[in-house]
């Protein structure tokens, strides 16, 4: 498998999954993304991103039966796979390397 490249929104979603308690629901993940980024992501973008992360093997989910408030529809609990954690780490490394040494320049702004 080639190295997974992470987009910014993908990173946010992956980090939000990790920040939530054990195996969060999509509603919780979305709330976390909103809290951290300061704006509410559209549901379309959010769910398609989850699908994409899953297709890249960075998240997995397990379904459990839903409550009456969901009309019995199933709900998914997500967790980040080891590959997901690796992808986050390499993203972070790459970004930090790029940031390094620019404190002076950026500090002026």
């Amino acid at each position: 498998m080639g190295r997974a490249f992470l987009g910014e929104f993908e990173q946010r979603v992956l980090l939000a999954v990790l920040r939530c308690s054990d195996r969060p629901l999509p509603l919780e993940i979305r709330r976390e993304v909103a809290r951290q980024s300061g704006h509410d992501p559209s549901r379309g973008a959010f769910y398609t991103t989850l699908d994409r992360l899953e297709a890249k093997g960075l998240v997995r989910w397990k379904a459990e039966s839903g409550s009456a408030g969901r009309d019995g529809l199933p709900q998914r609990r997500f967790h980040v796979t080891p590959a997901g954690v690796r992808a986050l780490k390499s993203s972070r490394r790459a970004l930090l390397a790029l940031w390094a040494g620019l404190d002076e320049v950026l500090g002026e702004l």
């Binding site: 839903g66 969901r70 009309d71 529809l73 199933p74």
Partner: protein
Amino acid sequence: MKTRETRRPRPVHPPTAADALLRRVLARGKRGQSIVGDLHEEFRAMPDHRAARRWYWRQALRLALRYVSRGDQPLRKQKGSIMPHDLRSDLRTALRMFVRNPGTSTVIVFTLALAIGAATVGFAFADLALFRGLPVDDASRVVSVFASDTHGSNPRSRVSAPDYLDYRARAKGLERVSVFRQASAPLITNGQSRTLSVSYATADFFAAIGQTSPALGRVFLPGDDAPGASPVVLLSNRFWTEEFASRVDALGKTLQIGRDVFTIVGIVSAEIEFGNLAEIDLWLPLRITPDMPRDARTLRFVARLRPGVSFETAAAEIAAIGDALAIDHPDTNRGWRVRLIPIRELTGGPGFWVVIALFLLSIGLLVAIATANVSNLVMVRAMSRQRELAVRTALGARRGRLVRQLIVEGLALSVVSAGLSLPVTFASLRLIGAFSSELVFRQLAIDAHEFGFIASLALICPLLFTLAPARTLARTDVRQVLAAGGSRGATTSMRGRGALVVAQVALAVVLLTASSLAVRSVVGIYNEPTGMQTSHGLIFTLDFDDVQYPDTPLASAAARATRIALQAMPGVEQVAMVNALPVLGSETVVALNVDRAQLPPEEATPSVVSTAATAEIASVLGLTLLAGQWWNEGATDAAVVSRETATRYLGGVGRATGQTVTLSGGSTMRIVGVANDVVSGDITAWIPPRMWTPLPPTTRRLTFVVKAQGDPSELMSRVRAIVAKTVPAVPLENLQTFDEALRLAASSDYVITGVLSGFAILAVILAATGLFGVVSHAATQRTEEFGIRMALGASASDVIRLVARQSLALLVVGLGVGLVGGIGVGFGMKSALFGLSPLDPITIGGVAVLLIVVTLAATAMPAWRAGKTDPISALRAE
């Protein structure tokens, strides 16, 4: 407040339709279900239910759009999908184009929907005449005859009873030779009488037209029309449905018609309800005896070619029999030509086929104009994407793939348009039905034929309107576009679009010319004087049938009493009774024996339209006496002839008075006067020779003509009251003003020309929008050039002139070509133009002026905008 405490919160569900949409676009299984579940949970958490429903719809639509237009990774399982991946991605692109550019897409969809809808209305007319057609099985084997005298003045094709018997006996090439005639008959129920439309037919009639399987029971059997056979009746399907609620036990019941009682033995198949036959309530056996007069040509003839016999053989045989009958019976048959015709030719006069041809032409031209219009819009859109497409070509997309993408886009648009064209079609047909009560328009239907037509248009149109843009795209020089930003491609496309607009204008002019000629011709016909003064007339019909009035003198007395009561009404000037009104009634044609020395030797036996009336008819209808005088009330053997009769048969207006003529029944009439001509029912065909005779007291079905001093419609309620008081048992039929009745009789012609003009107007609008689109687009593209010109000293009016010159050039070419085509079509429809030349200067001038006005209107805006070009900003944009 117990109720409040016990009231449970109403269970609230998200909109079902939105859920259904989500289920369609999201993945099946738990993945999709869990997303819907998340939405449900959020929905439930919202306090305001109405706001929540709106919110839910918004989310569902956004998710649907997101998932449908997402190309990177299909969520639904590939398995079971019938569309290849390429096609689906083309469709997705088409959807994206629609969303990105809703204005152009909407214009395209509406243009196509209007054109397809209008074309379908035209097709429904043509379909009714051509494909649905006569209720005849294997129409090519079914024939009728056309009999005409030397003046061609026999209405349509009627034969007499003895002639029919001779044809049946002698024609070896025909089988199932039969005749029928339409009439009205009184149905008596509970002592009340009601006039029905009936058809009398010989027993072989249904076999002749191939309608031998009825909806229920049987059709006529051999012997049903023999003298002494037990009286049977067939019900039309419509009458059975309306009067018997389609109950099976109608069979075996009896109906009293006049004084006879008939047993219901069958229900005729609904297929037969076409054209005039659709008005028929009952079918009765027609008894033919050889002693009926040979010159009473009242029967319509239908027969079938015997197997193995060609039409030509049978036609030669019938012509020979006709000639033989003319020799055997010179008094009645001399000069009459009889020829065999295929049954199709009976559908309408020559004008009918011209109308059908015009409809087909209109369909073709409308679709062509709309297609050209859409083609223009697609071209503009393709040009604006030229860079994108060039990049895709450079990256390795094959041109065929790009063209296919264009076609798929067009197909998607035209399928949407086809769907929208249905309401257009339905609304138009409803409008037509509202204008004319003619039965034939109610038979215009949208069924498998029309759906097939719409579907094929939806498939063909995109191929046509993507043709030109696809060619232009395929020729695009990628390097040049990428280097220069597409200016070269734009000029070649401008030339193509100019040609399209010229074609559009030309086609619209053809359609406009043809339909203006048709309209002017129809209006001209109905503005021709009828020979009668009808503006103060009020007419209605009373049937003093032999059940209510078994004795003829009683019936006649009742009729007279009604006339006198009406005459005494204030506001009434004069009242007359007539057996059948000219134009509106079904008039009788009788043969006339005159001194043959006055006739040219080849002249056929004279026949005249005979109108029997009371003496007041002259003043009620405002007839003018040209010679002699009118007969007096009470006369029985005096007659007044029309100018046409006098000049054709009696040696002229001056010499007619005083002559004696013998009618086909044997009665002798003295001509006492000559009156002006009055037209007949077929208003376009001929002014018939006519004779006005005193009303025989045996006439039971009478049309009353009331001449009012003022507005005739004000008399209506009082007329109704007086009739109800004087003859309570007789139903009052068709009470209306004379002019209204004439208008109704003409309404079908007006509807047809109205539909044609509708097509023409639509064509002009489409052509105008096409012109507008091209001129304004060209003006926008030349903004930079205008800027330079103005910077160099050109004035605003110079620039306006530049823009106008372009559109005028398009107009002149289009108008010229179109007028030539329109005049050509005019010559083609010459047989249906009455008193009008295809070169009619008013029509041609009007079309030209209209087109010039429309062109100026379409040019005004772009020209004005070009005139206001600011040279500085135009150049800075560069």
